[in-house]
Point group: C2
Chain length 327, copies 2
Amino acid sequence: MRITALAGGIGGSRFLRGLLRAVPDAEVTVIGNTADDITLHGLHVSPDLDTVMYTLGDGVEESQGWGRRDDTNVVAAELAAYGAEPQWFTLGDRDLATHLIRTRMLAAGYPLSAVTEALCDRWRPGVQLLPMTDDRVETHVVVAESGSEAAGGDTGGERAIHFQEWWVRLHAEVPARRIVLVGIEQATPAPGVLDAIAAADVIVLPPSNPVVSIGPILAVPGVRDAVRAAAAPVVGVSPIIGGAPVRGMADAALTAIGVPTSAAAVAELFADLLDGWLVDTVDAAAVPAVESVGVRCRAVPLLMTDVDAAAAMARTALDLAEEARAR
Amino acid sequence: MRITALAGGIGGSRFLRGLLRAVPDAEVTVIGNTADDITLHGLHVSPDLDTVMYTLGDGVEESQGWGRRDDTNVVAAELAAYGAEPQWFTLGDRDLATHLIRTRMLAAGYPLSAVTEALCDRWRPGVQLLPMTDDRVETHVVVAESGSEAAGGDTGGERAIHFQEWWVRLHAEVPARRIVLVGIEQATPAPGVLDAIAAADVIVLPPSNPVVSIGPILAVPGVRDAVRAAAAPVVGVSPIIGGAPVRGMADAALTAIGVPTSAAAVAELFADLLDGWLVDTVDAAAVPAVESVGVRCRAVPLLMTDVDAAAAMARTALDLAEEARAR
């Protein structure tokens, strides 16, 4: 069975780990979000690709869901001692080696897809990991000029900051007025992306942030159309449980695009693509609303408390895909 | 008193530390060798500048004379786990932060002299540290093609390798046929270099490698002429004691340029510049030979067993300069 998944970071990676346990013989291709890539201290960091690679390659720090297990921060402390900015994003020492290699290979002319393949030679994640694009795309968040809202009156001033600054430094606590995918119009899908979508037996949207993880992947010109046109059933897993994101601050990102933080509202975002959608049991009441937009929906436990729980979710998602195919 | 010194790595740095103890109120400018700079894992490494900066800034690992005190090698181990080359040069974690900042600033368009100044803002070495040039110069060593000499016959094949590869990987055990300073003809002295030479009250050549440390600095077009033309007396300290280098493998480098490994022979290399030359007491017999080429010479203990010993050497060098001035 060929499964193609679109994935962001932590939630997507944990779901994928469950998927590999559920169907170890499946041929899985993961199309990873690269719009939250950022250059830090001159190094090209691809947080989502690395989270997938480390998680599936058994190298992730489980306690936080990202970064390298048992990492240290010697280099980061030294950079801070030099006063090097930014200091709100800490690159661990082990993790840093990955970014050094990526940066060096990119500088030598290799596309990000080739770099990702080379890095995966070490990690052997058990999937083919593809960046959504080899082109530079950056999610920027438009916020009010510092102080203009706090001063009691919106002066209209605003500025765009890199998604990571909004997410990591500001904890998404400053309201996002708009989310802009810089460079997306010129981006083309990385080699293999459209083929993996067209050739899939099942297409999966794991429980990743719908706005800043799945959203950018689908926004690469040609990708959303390819998913819509694919013969395979498309099933997704809600990242929202009981009106709140399971992790991260997806609510802030949804608010920015005017979408309620609910399992049903996220399904609606992808209604043109979805054949099936899983919501958590606490959101069972949302099932009729999802089905009313033509998406088969089932309420099951969605908390990935361990790999077995994630595997059970993955099995249900694949069952739902089978039902959709048989329909 | 304005003192200008030309310096390589370990020997030069230890001498300079003694100099600062001997004359704490002196205004010292150090012109550092950059011809053994190397790009490793995409990072611009300036071994000699860093050794001066760390040593005078009280950050050096005393046990080896270079690198950062109590450094760790987490990143290097990870790079090796990826199979990243070269693996014969290990960058410590703390040290790596310096290279990250240097590389980032160079990429942003700052010249190496500005980068060095920025790094010294943290280390406060107590001297003005100038790279010999902002241009790229690399010492390459021409060696026989691997195996051609071992095979019993010189096939004539040869290749040029970066100095660091010859020095660090091959331990200078492969005979050097020639030493080439790639880029030296096009290089210009960094801002401040010629001024520091012209304005000096004393010019010092510390006990650094004459071929690959002092040599490249003097080879930057204009520098040797400036030293020769300077009003200040020029005094040097032999890096050779009893026919052997105090540290490093200066003998191999001297052999490559056809110069005997002796305190007198090194003085002759710089005879057009020197007013005074210190040799070790074991080389007292060399004093007449040095003086015969017009260089005032004195035999004193030259082993820098501690900072006080280095300070005593520095004091003697300055005394010799005074004598030369009074002559």
